[in-house]
Symmetry: C2
Subunit: 622 residues, 2 copies
C-alpha cells in the first residue's frame, strides 16, 4: 500500500508537469501524456535501471518513446528522475530548448528521434537485439500509442522481435482509444490487440493501465520473463486521465489547456509534492558505448584484365573491414545474395542481422544499433530503400550513424524492369542535410570507398552496380568523400562529361569514339555525388573550349548528379547539360535500356556533337 | 474426377509455359510460378469471372499478382484464358514486349504494376472496397508469396480489409517456404500464418496447394463466404513443384532453367495439350470503368481582408468538386482534421475512405481505386507521405491517376519540430517522370488549382500550408499547371525572387522593405513547381539588371524549387541563387524557424543586398 500511494503521488507530479509545460507552450499533446502517466511512473519508480549521469552507459535500461507526441511525458519522467530541474520543463517547444515538440537527440536521454509513428518498437528491437548479441543485461521498454499500431512497421518489428527471441524487450501499449481525428480502429476492444500480439509471438498481459497493482504485477512478470518471447503489456487507459473535463473525451488530441483550464485541472489534481523523485535503480556496471576501433583502409589488388561487380567488391571489403572493427553490424532484407552481404553472414554471423523482407523495420533497427555506437551497414536493392524513406528521414533527425548500400541501381539492371530499378535514390538521400552519396564505378574505387564510407560519421549512401564493370583505376590510387576521378583530360577538350557509376563506361566509350573524329572531350568520374568535387570540376570545365559540363547518370533527371553539378557550376558562367532518365523504363538488355533512356554512349556522342555544332546525319539531335 | 483431371492437364500447360518463357528469356523466376500453378489453374478454370475482351469491365473479377516476380505465371494464365496466343509468351522480358520482368500497365490484364513486394493485398483491398461502395458483384483475388508477408504493409492491408468488411476479397497465400536468399521466417509452419491472419480478422483455410480437391473446396467456400470477413486461403506449396530437380530446393529463386535443364523438365511434365483453354465465366453485365464527368472550376469568393489556410481551402474545394464528380474518392490517414478532408467525410461519406495511420496501404488502396477510373485524392502530412515513397513510386509505374495532398510542409509548421516537417517532398514527387508538383500560397490560387490538379491525369502532388496566409490574388485570376504568378515587377528590378508557398510572403515583405531603400526586386510565385513556367521566368530574369533569380523555398536545398529553376535557366546565361533549408530544424515559432533556416524576409533582404553589392553592416553576408 505504501508503494501504491507513492506511485499515485509521483504520477500526480508527472501529470502536473505535462499539463503545465504544454499550457506554457500553448501547444502539445497533454491528453496523450496523461493516459500513460501511471504505467511509466511505476516503471521509472520501481523497475527502470539507469545511471542518470551517463545516458550511454551500456548497462542502462533503455526507454523508447514511440508515441513521440507524448514528449512532455518523456521530459517529465527524466526531470523527476533528477536529470534536470522540473522547472526547465517550461521551456517545452521553445526555440533553442532541448525539450522540443517531439524528441530529438538534443535531449540526450531520448533513444531516438520519434514523432513519425510506428517506428519505436523497431528502434527498441534494435537495442534489445544488441543486448542479446553483446551479452548486456539491460531491458528495453517501448511505449507506444494505440493509433500507431495500425502502422505496418509495428508488425514487422513484432515478427522481428519474436523471431530473434528478444525476451528482453517489453512493449508498453497505451490503449487510450482515441487517435488524432477520432476513435482508433479498435477502440477499447483490448482482445483485438491481445490476439494480434499473441499471434505474432509475444507474451501478452492485458491490464488496467491506471491500476498500480496491475501495472506493478505486469511489469514484474515482464522483467522476470522466463519465456524466450518478447513481452507486451497492453494497458487499457483513458486519454486525459486524471482531469475530468478532458478524460476519455474525443476532440482533445493535440490541444494544450488554456490558462483557466489549467487552473481547474491543477485544482482537480490537488496537492502535489514538487520535490518527489523516482527511485531509479543504479546499473551494476559503468561502461559507456563507444566505437571500438578506427577503420582500416582496404588493400585489395584487382586484376586490370578482369571485370568485377561493385556490389560484390563491397561485400568483400565489408567483411575485411568488419573483422577489423567490431562495431560494424550488417543488416539485409532477404537479398544478401544480391547485395553480397552474404559474405558477412558467413564470416561474421554474430554481427549479421537478417531482417527478411521488411525494410522499414530494418532501418529503424539500425537506428537502435547506432544509438549505442554500433556502425550498422544496411543493404538492399536501391529501389527498396525507398520503402523506408520515412525511417531514413527520421534516422537523419536522430543523427544516426548508418551506412546505406543500395544495389541494382538504374536501368542498367536490365530484364527485371522498372519496379526493381533504383532511379530516385540520389534524390532521396541527397535531400537529407549533410548526407553523403557515393557511387564507385569499378572495383578499385569501391574497395577504397567502403572504408571511407564506414569511417564517416552520419548518414552515408553508396550505390552499387548489378553488372560487372572494368577496372579504370590503378590499385594505388586514392579516393575520398568529396573527390572525383579525372579519366580523360586534354587541352583540346571542347567540353567535359561528368558521369557516375555505369555511365562512366558509356562516357569513356563516347570519348574514345569522338576522339576518332577529332572531337576531344574530358571525362570525370563523380564517384562522390554529394559532396561533389566542386573545385576540380569547375577547374576542368573552365579549361574546356565550350565551358560546358555534360552530366550523364542512370537516375531520374530530377534530384540526381545533374542537379548537384548545376549547383557546383552556378555563378561560374559555365553551362550544365543534363542527360538522365526521363521516363519509366522497361525490360530489356542493359545496352537496350541505356540507349532507350538516352544515356548510352551513342546518345552521349549525339549530344556532344549537337552541342559542339558538328552535325552529322547519323545522330538524333536533341 | 473429370474436373480434377482437367485441372491437372491445364496446370501442366501453365507450368510448361512458365518454364519455356523464362528459359527463352534466360532470366526470371520459374520456381515461384510453379508453386502457384495449381491454385491459380483451379481459380481461372472454375471460378474466375472475366470478359477477356474488356479488362476494365466493372463486372469482371479482379486478379492481383502481388508476388510480381511470378509474372510469367500471370502471363500464362491470361494466354491460356485466350487473351493472346501462347506462343507470344516467348517474348517474355524482351525489349518492347508487353510481357515484362514484372507486370506493368502495358499488360492490360494486370491490375497494377507489382514487383516491390507486399503491395498487392492493398491494391486488392482498394478494388474490393470499390465493389462494396459501388454495389458491384465482382470478387477480388490476390496472390501473394510468403516472403512478402514480412512486409508491414500486408498487415496494414489485413486490418483495413477486415475493418471495412471486405468479404469479397480473397487472398491466396502461396507458402512455398523459400524466399530469395533462404528459408522464410516461418518455413512451412502453416499455423504461423493462419493465426496471424485469423487474429487480423480473416476467415482462414489452410490447404495443400497442390491438391485440387482441397483447392476447389477452399475456393468454393471463399466465393460463397457468408461471413463479413475477408478470406485467406493459405496454401502449403512447393517451390518449383512439378519438376523434381528444382522442387522444394533452396538456391533456385530467380533462376531460369538452362536449355538442357528445360528439356529434362519438359520430359518430366510429359505430354501437354497446348490447345487447352480455361473455362472463364462470363460476367453478367458489361460496363466499362470510366471517369464520370469533367471537373468543374471552383468559383469561390475570398475576402481580401481575411486570412485563410490553404489546407482548409483545399478541403472546401474538394467537397464542391467531389459533389460534381462522382469519380472522386478522398482518403486520409487519421489526420482529416488537419488536412481538412474532414469536410469531405461529413458531406460525402460514401466516397471517403478512412485509412487510419497506415500510409503505405492508403497509397496502394488508391492505386486500386484508380485502376477502375476512380480519382483518389490521398491526403496526410507531407512528411508522412514519405512513409509511402515506395508505394508512390510503384503507383507511378502503374500509371495510376492519384492526387496527393501533403499538409504541414516545411519549417513553417513551427512548434511540432522536424519530425512533422515535410522538407523532402518536392524531391520525392519531383523525381517521378511527368509528375506535377503544385504549391499555392493563398486561398484564391488553391481554390483554382484544386480542380486543375484533379482534372490532370497522372501523379500530381499539392503542398498545402498549416498557417493562415493573406490573399495575394484577385478572385478572377486564372491559374494553370505550368503557370506562375508575377507579384512584383518593375523596370528597375535588379533581380527577381522566385518563391513558393509560405516564402511568397517573406519575398513580398523583403521586396517591400528593399523598395524603401531604393532596391527594386521582382517577385514570382511559383505555384507550379513542376512543370515550372520556364518561359515567364526566363523572360522576367532577363529583364532584370543582374540577370539573376533568387529562389526561396521551405524545403531542403536539394531536389526542390531551386533545382527546377536552375534547369529552367540553364544555358540562358542567367544566374540562380538558392535559398533553402540546409539543416535539421527544431521547435519554435514560424517566424523563428523561417529565420533560423535562413529563408525569412530578413535573410532574403540580406542576401539581395549582398548580391547587389550594397553592403550594410546590419546583415550577415552569405
Amino acid at each position: 500500500m505504501e508503494q501504491t500511494n507513492d506511485f499515485s503521488e509521483k504520477a500526480k507530479l508527472i501529470r502536473k508537469c505535462c499539463l503545465i509545460s504544454t499550457t506554457e507552450a500553448a501547444s502539445g499533446h497533454p491528453t496523450s501524456c496523461l493516459s500513460a502517466a501511471d504505467i511509466t511512473t511505476v516503471l521509472f519508480d520501481k523497475y527502470f535501471t539507469y545511471d542518470i549521469t551517463s545516458p550511454l552507459n551500456l548497462f542502462n535500461d533503455r526507454f523508447v518513446l514511440s508515441k513521440g507526441h507524448a514528449a512532455p511525458l518523456l521530459y517529465a519522467l527524466f526531470a523527476v528522475s533528477g536529470a534536470f530541474p522540473v522547472d526547465e520543463l517550461k521551456s517545452l517547444r521553445k526555440f533553442g530548448s532541448i525539450l522540443q515538440g517531439h524528441p530529438v537527440p538534443k535531449f540526450k536521454y531520448s533513444e531516438a528521434a520519434t514523432g513519425s509513428l510506428g517506428q519505436g518498437l523497431s528502434v527498441g528491437a534494435g537495442l534489445a537485439l544488441l543486448a542479446k548479441r553483446e551479452n548486456l543485461p539491460y531491458k528495453t521498454y517501448v511505449l507506444t500509442g494505440d493509433g500507431e499500431l495500425a502502422e505496418g512497421q509495428i508488425w514487422e518489428a513484432a515478427n522481428f522481435a519474436s523471431y530473434h527471441n528478444l525476451d528482453n524487450l517489453i512493449a508498453l501499449l497505451d490503449i487510450n482509444r482515441f487517435a488524432q481525428s477520432g476513435e482508433t480502429m479498435f477502440g477499447h476492444h483490448m482482445e483485438q490487440y491481445a490476439k494480434r500480439f499473441e499471434s505474432f509471438g509475444f507474451e501478452v498481459a492485458v491490464i488496467d493501465g491506471h491500476n498500480y497493482g496491475e501495472i506493478d504485477r505486469a511489469l514484474s512478470d515482464a522483467v522476470n520473463n522466463k519465456t524466450s518471447r518478447p513481452y507486451a503489456i497492453i494497458a487499457k487507459t483513458l486519454k486525459g486521465k486524471g482531469v475530468s473535463f478532458i478524460e476519455n473525451k474525443d476532440g482533445w488530441h493535440g490541444k494544450a489547456l488554456k490558462k483557466e483550464e489549467l487552473e481547474k485541472a491543477l485544482k482537480e489534481l490537488g496537492n502535489v509534492n514538487d520535490t518527489l523523485k523516482f527511485n531509479l535503480k543504479k546499473p551494476s556496471q559503468q561502461k559507456a558505448a563507444v566505437i571500438t576501433a578506427t577503420i582500416e583502409k582496404a588493400n585489395n589488388d584487382f586484376d586490370k584484365m578482369k571485370e568485377y561487380a561493385t556490389r560484390e567488391v563491397f561485400g568483400d571489403v565489408l567483411v575485411s573491414t568488419g573483422k577489423a572493427n567490431k562495431s560494424i553490424y550488417a543488416l539485409d532484407a532477404d537479398v544478401k545474395n544480391s547485395t553480397f552481404t552474404e559474405k558477412f553472414t558467413k564470416e561474421i554471423p554474430e554481427r549479421f542481422v537478417e531482417c527478411f523482407i521488411a525494410e522499414q523495420n530494418m532501418v529503424s533497427v539500425a537506428a537502435g544499433l547506432s544509438r549505442l555506437d554500433k556502425i550498422p551497414v544496411v543493404a538492399t536493392f536501391a529501389a527498396f530503400l525507398t520503402r523506408a524513406a520515412d525511417q531514413i528521414r527520421m534516422a537523419r533527425v536522430s543523427e544516426a550513424n548508418i551506412k546505406f548500400v543500395g544495389s541494382h541501381v538504374g536501368v542498367s539492371i536490365g530484364e527485371d524492369g522498372p519496379s526493381q530499378m533504383g532511379l530516385e535514390d540520389i534524390a532521396l538521400f541527397g535531400a537529407l542535410p549533410h548526407s553523403v552519396v557515393l557511387q564507385p564505378c569499378d572495383a578499385v574505387s569501391t574497395a577504397k570507398l567502403v572504408p571511407e564510407m564506414i569511417a564517416h560519421k552520419g548518414i552515408t549512401y553508396m550505390r552499387t552496380l548489378r553488372p560487372k564493370t572494368k577496372i579504370v583505376y590503378g590499385n594505388d590510387e586514392d579516393f575520398r568523400i568529396g573527390g572525383c576521378g579525372i579519366l580523360r583530360q586534354s587541352k583540346e577538350d571542347v567540353l567535359t562529361i561528368a558521369a557516375t557509376g555505369i555511365t562512366v563506361f558509356e562516357a569513356l566509350k563516347a570519348a574514345d569514339e569522338l576522339k576518332k573524329e577529332n572531337i576531344s572531350v574530358g571525362v570525370i568520374d563523380c564517384y562522390s555525388i554529394k559532396p561533389l568535387d566542386r573545385k576540380t570540376i569547375v577547374q576542368r570545365v573552365r579549361e574546356t573550349k565550350k565551358q560546358m559540363l555534360v552530366t550523364v547518370e542512370d537516375h531520374f533527371e530530377h534530384g540526381g548528379l545533374g542537379d548537384f553539378a548545376e549547383d557546383a557550376l552556378e555563378g561560374t558562367g559555365c553551362t550544365v547539360v543534363k542527360m538522365a532518365v526521363e521516363k519509366i523504363s522497361q525490360s530489356g538488355t542493359m545496352e537496350e535500356l541505356l540507349k532507350d533512356a538516352g544515356i548510352d554512349f551513342t546518345s552521349i556522342i549525339a549530344r556532344v556533337k549537337s552541342l559542339t555544332k558538328i552535325f552529322t546525319g547519323a545522330y538524333h539531335q536533341n
